[in-house]
Symmetry: C3
Subunit: 260 residues, 3 copies
Amino acid sequence: MPPITLTTDFHHGSTYVAAMKAVILTINPAATIVDVTHDVPPQDVRRGARVLDEVTALFPADTIHVAVIDPGVGTDRGIVYVRIGRQQYVCPDNGLLALMARRTPPSQIIRLTEPGYWLQPVSATFHGRDIMAPVAARLSLGLEPSLLGETQAGLLMLDWPEPTQSPGRIEGRIEEIDSFGNLISNISELLLAEVPHDHRTTVETCGRKVQGIVRTYGERSPGELVALVGSSGWLELAVVNGNAADDLAAMVGDAVTVTW
Amino acid sequence: MPPITLTTDFHHGSTYVAAMKAVILTINPAATIVDVTHDVPPQDVRRGARVLDEVTALFPADTIHVAVIDPGVGTDRGIVYVRIGRQQYVCPDNGLLALMARRTPPSQIIRLTEPGYWLQPVSATFHGRDIMAPVAARLSLGLEPSLLGETQAGLLMLDWPEPTQSPGRIEGRIEEIDSFGNLISNISELLLAEVPHDHRTTVETCGRKVQGIVRTYGERSPGELVALVGSSGWLELAVVNGNAADDLAAMVGDAVTVTW
Amino acid sequence: MPPITLTTDFHHGSTYVAAMKAVILTINPAATIVDVTHDVPPQDVRRGARVLDEVTALFPADTIHVAVIDPGVGTDRGIVYVRIGRQQYVCPDNGLLALMARRTPPSQIIRLTEPGYWLQPVSATFHGRDIMAPVAARLSLGLEPSLLGETQAGLLMLDWPEPTQSPGRIEGRIEEIDSFGNLISNISELLLAEVPHDHRTTVETCGRKVQGIVRTYGERSPGELVALVGSSGWLELAVVNGNAADDLAAMVGDAVTVTW
């Protein structure tokens, strides 16, 4: 039986999360439920898309990922079942899957239109509890996705700023700051494949420069700023045993430049 | 096997929560444990009562809800097993069940007096770990509740401020602020059944007025203040894609008035 | 099948936690995973050691405790499998087990050197996901620990400040502040066995004195400062229904003195 994961902007400790789990366990008492995170900033669909992109591919095949960052709840935005690669998703069609779908086109998209699989009555403001949770629980019990509604051709897509490349230079930006204060850029290790990792290369952000790209934090002394490729494959800047975001007053969107 | 839920004021990340789960899993390795929330403000029994009232009825029949907001730990306040409707509760008898019991009288109340079902030795300051967790674990394995102690006639009750009604007017108050900053009042949808939801009705709080009660956030523009009935059946005020509590400097206890 | 627990400094809501759970469930879909805490302060190995010491012994026999507070990730610090008493641990060999191992010498220490049990490729910065999670999942399925690598003689140990004793006097320090603001010292109940608990004894910290050691918070009035032995067996100072850390501006490391 595939696990169900939950990704929301409800905030840790919110009883809205417990409400969704209650609905899932009522339908499937044996469900395995995993919290991905509930700390996506409120209504931040782009951040939700990055979370799903970063984590969900690691889960077992056929895992059902429910994502509720849903500023359009109760309007005519659709709710979709989507299969991308070996993973399954249930979420509003508002761009949450845009980052993943750009890389791997979905093999199945169903717009949820069959109310027989939902909690009744459906509220106007909490479709995570009333539509997505019961649908995920039924999928985990083996419900055939095509019964959930009508096939849909594509998903709502969003644009992300892409790094620009020129000879000897890549310009990107800080895309995320993790809980250690590490500054994670949108420059992937693929873009860095031809770039020397030694002192010939300079990484710059927020007016601070680093020579070379190290392999891990421990290669430099505590307090030193380093550039490295992080565990998800993105170039990041970090302060060894410290907090780069605090030290550099860095924010998401700040420029990151690699020159060599 | 019914799941066990945990509701406490230990704060997320507290190792006290892990201690309770350790005790439960030692007695019942197959237990399904669900966190409702650990972020009830310290010693805030009323807030705990609201959490239980809002969420627990959604769980599968016979779920065992353990609630540890327990400022009287180690004094002569009792600990009780209570059945209300289809749900079971294990908690201090300090008002945590008052909101639910007022609506649905308990069908069984047992005061926990049989130490044979507890962890030994029982500490003076952590009955959640030493009494409530082991009792819940044993209940999940099928222990007959009447073995836990003596039947008790009633529960300690608390009063809640109720909305007042007069022709063309309802006066209530903000009872809770959720993680989105939505202001959730104590005015239920039942009270609003005869109230027009269009522009004839005015909802006022913190010096701000809204005309009409909408169905969902998305019916108005981002940044606009709206009144609507939220997913738990209470009148709430919200800023579309924003934070009403911040915008209005609103606090629990502030008046909410509906006139028409 | 023994449960797996997770203790990290990733911060609640971090997707790094979800990544570890994804890896575990991919290898063992039936794994029971319990979060101990993810709110150990970044790189604070000593605090991690205290968490493990405080909570893990309560878990069922053979539970596998994974601890990832790992400032040395990617350097030559080892990663170890350790059995202490009835519990099993998988963590960096950086002092995380020092507090427990001082009391109960490990009965088995294996340095993880067999990459066949790891996720491939192993990143340089996230061994929690790539080495510790898959090893824990395989142990939960019954893998023989000795296959993981070579036996190692001892663990990296750290020193902790110990209370000093003289006739009629014990001097210790605040070792931890819990989520209620209770000040938990390093003075154990064993040290207090011969000390009178009545008014003859004075407990002092941060310039404030308390007469006597009470059994539980409820023996004094709200707002009053009390000294008592907490649920983990340490002398603590607490404000009844209040927050001692705020009231006394107390910090970890402040002196605690018992005189009689």
